[in-house]
Symmetry: C2
Subunit: 439 residues, 2 copies
């Protein structure tokens, strides 16, 4: 460990860990997780905490028209901005690291960098903005990665504001209710984006490596499936007369899981996460079931082939069970490649700090995937115990959190000096590969 790293640890560690564990008490569950779905009161409380952190340091706080929350450190008036952050919302009974870690790390990195600029240790070419993206999780309002996708122009703001949760509340009304529907456009010209996140996989833990430099994301798509049968009495209807939508949905759920066995091990992951059943009464044969399936692979051809096979098999189930099954593709996200220069930057920083690092892919979606379509983006992972996430036992050690924080600080410091100026990034994909059919 270098002297400089030791010094930085001392400066950052106590303040960061204190704040991280304090934010984890907002919406805390009884089993060590948090429940802070988008635009709920718990989400509001974390946003208030973020705003107070920024205002206490004199940073300008603004909210844009889709609830993204920005805090700006103006170093060079009128210059473009380097953006860093993640999201404070969680899944239902989710973990306290997913998202919140990246926001808290960006806030503390910004505080450290402000000090360096003030003391003449760093001469930035750009301003620095810390962001809490709205609704990365998508559990209450689909699709996920909502706020950053709207900011990046991948989703239409007006259409997204009209999306409803299962209780019928729109995104617009939910954001207004917590006081976080703003009018700002957010930062204008950007010069780069950086995000740190827990891995949500087991590679770093298994290999004993401190950091993952993400070079690409998997190809993903969702399928929205409606199974339509006929409502009838569970006791008084002959088996031969039933058209049971839940039976159809059960067969669809198993087909979606079992298709993975037809491809090389772990080359495809696929499951049904959401299911809505009508009328859902103990003595009624169900008339309608809505399902959402999620398919992901590195190789787009695998997702496409699995999707085509599933569509044909859904039709077979419909015929055999005398049901109607309507399935539609939505939320198709192509592979995305992060700039090689950003991966190289992370490797340089890790070498300098004496931290081990490897290249890796992400199977999960992240705000950085959306941001990388409009500005050169850097995505960094820290280890995640057992690779579990979206659950209460999600865990990363304090030591691993601090490693990621320090590396992020150094990465942003370099971004502020313009090391990624002019590098290529994927750009906005064509609409044909990014169509969203929203409920």
């Amino acid at each position: 460990m270098t002297d400089r790293l030791a010094q930085l640890r001392d400066d950052l560690e106590r303040a960061f860990l204190r704040d991280f564990h304090q934010v984890a008490t907002i919406g805390a569950t009884d089993r060590g997780g948090v429940e802070r779905q988008a635009a709920t009161d718990a989400d509001r409380q974390t946003r208030d905490w973020f705003s107070a952190f920024a205002r206490a340091r004199g940073w300008a706080v603004e909210v844009d028209g889709i609830g993204n929350l920005f805090a700006t450190l103006e170093f060079v008036p009128g210059a473009p901005a380097i953006l860093s952050g993640s999201h404070l919302d969680s899944q239902p009974r989710g973990g306290r690291f997913d998202g919140a870690y990246g926001v808290l790390a960006a806030l503390h990195a910004a505080a450290e960098l402000e000090r360096r600029v003030a003391e003449g240790e760093l001469t930035p070419r750009y301003n620095l903005v810390v962001v809490d993206w709205f609704n990365e999780e998508g559990s209450r309002f689909p699709p996920s990665i909502m706020g950053s996708s709207v900011y990046a122009g991948l989703l239409d703001r007006e259409q997204i504001l009209g999306v409803r949760d299962l209780a019928g509340t729109t995104v617009r009304d939910a954001l207004e209710a917590i006081g976080y529907l703003g009018t700002s456009g957010g930062p204008g010209e950007l010069a780069g984006y950086a995000e740190v996140h827990i891995e949500q996989g087991r590679i770093l833990e298994r290999e004993g490596i401190a950091l993952g430099a993400v070079d690409s994301s998997w190809y993903t798509q969702k399928i929205e499936i409606d199974v339509i049968g006929e409502q009838s009495h569970t006791g008084a209807t002959a088996m031969a007369d039933r058209r049971d939508a839940l039976v159809g949905a059960a067969r669809v759920t198993l087909l979606v899981r079992d298709i993975c066995n037809e491809y090389p091990a772990e080359s495809l992951v696929s499951s049904v996460g959401q299911i809505t059943v009508e009328p859902n009464s103990p003595i009624v044969v169900n008339s309608r079931v809505h399902l959402v399936a999620d398919l992901r692979a590195n190789d787009p051809a695998i997702v496409r082939s699995a999707r085509d096979a599933l569509m044909a098999r859904f039709q077979q189930v419909a015929d055999e069970e005398r049901l109607e099954i309507v399935a539609r593709d939505f939320d198709i996200r192509p592979n995305r490649y992060y700039p090689q220069e950003g991966v190289a930057l992370q490797q340089r920083v890790a070498d300098r700090l004496g931290l081990s690092i490897r290249r890796m892919q992400t199977m999960a979606g992240h705000d950085s995937v959306a941001m990388n379509t409009i500005t050169p983006s850097v995505m960094m992972f820290v280890p995640s115990v057992d690779g579990v996430s979206h659950c209460e036992r999600e865990f990363t050690s304090d030591g691993d959190l601090v490693n990621g924080l320090i590396a992020l600080t150094e990465v942003i410091a370099e971004l502020l000096t313009g090391v990624l100026d002019g590098v290529a990034y994927p750009g906005v994909p064509s609409t044909s590969t990014n169509e969203s059919r929203l409920r």
Copy 2:
């Protein structure tokens, strides 16, 4: 058709059909059904309508401690009562005939019989009470046949008042909220019970028969099943690491349906009607699913053998999918036999009226099944188009409704004169075969 029947038709038909179709507008759905789950505002409106009907005729209205609604015609002060009715609540998006028909028919039969008594055509030994039983459907608050079972002493009132719907509201609070939690004990000594209901099967329609005299009910039981896995990320969790509760629930649902194929055709009916999924988010592997399965057969040995086989197979699914599956029997209802004298009474009445009739069983549960444990009970069916029920397209023609109404009127007239005095009825079953495990 006899002259008497023609006369009665003229007197009853217009008034009954007008009222029946009026009540069907309360909670009406856009597809010809009704949605009047127990203790909702729509249920309150039908109860208000019932009370107004009774009060307009000077009948005493009272509500007991589980929301059963009674209207008493006192013919012989201090004498026991003949009870007749059914239930005004419905399934979600249910039909307008199931239950409401039996209540409306009893009210109009009572009005006709009051006239006969007043004009000296009928000399009753008993009083007459019309009843709307609380929550026969059990869709909002399990179990079904709630109000009549509490009245009959088969369920404990205090325990039942504490049952909660999925939103956490108790039966007690829901009844208080609609103003129908009473303090009356309901009628004291009984001398018999009569109920008319749509068949909810195709036998009468197929055979072109006007009336069904129910002689027994099927053996039924429910199984409550919890499938417990582990919450994780649908994108970032390797397939081999998943413990997906929804996959387990899908396999359970198919096992429950497929077990019927191992017995003679239509000797067993079985399905999962209710399923509750946590956390139910598109990109989360589900941690917990609660299911309710419903098994019914005439032969108890078939239900018991299917139940045992299912329990073993659930365990196999748990082992294969690395899940925990906990399954518990509840709401076991043995075969019940209606008094032969009541079946003979219905046949005599039908012969006199010139209406065709046959003996039959009921696969569905009814309030009369509970009542038959405490007083000799008569259960009569009218045809039901396509045999469908618990759905919006449930249908019985006006002519069939009026046939049942006239037959019910004649049956009650005979009950009032004591034709079932002293006949045997099943009595209260032992608790070992009627245990209820309530959520």
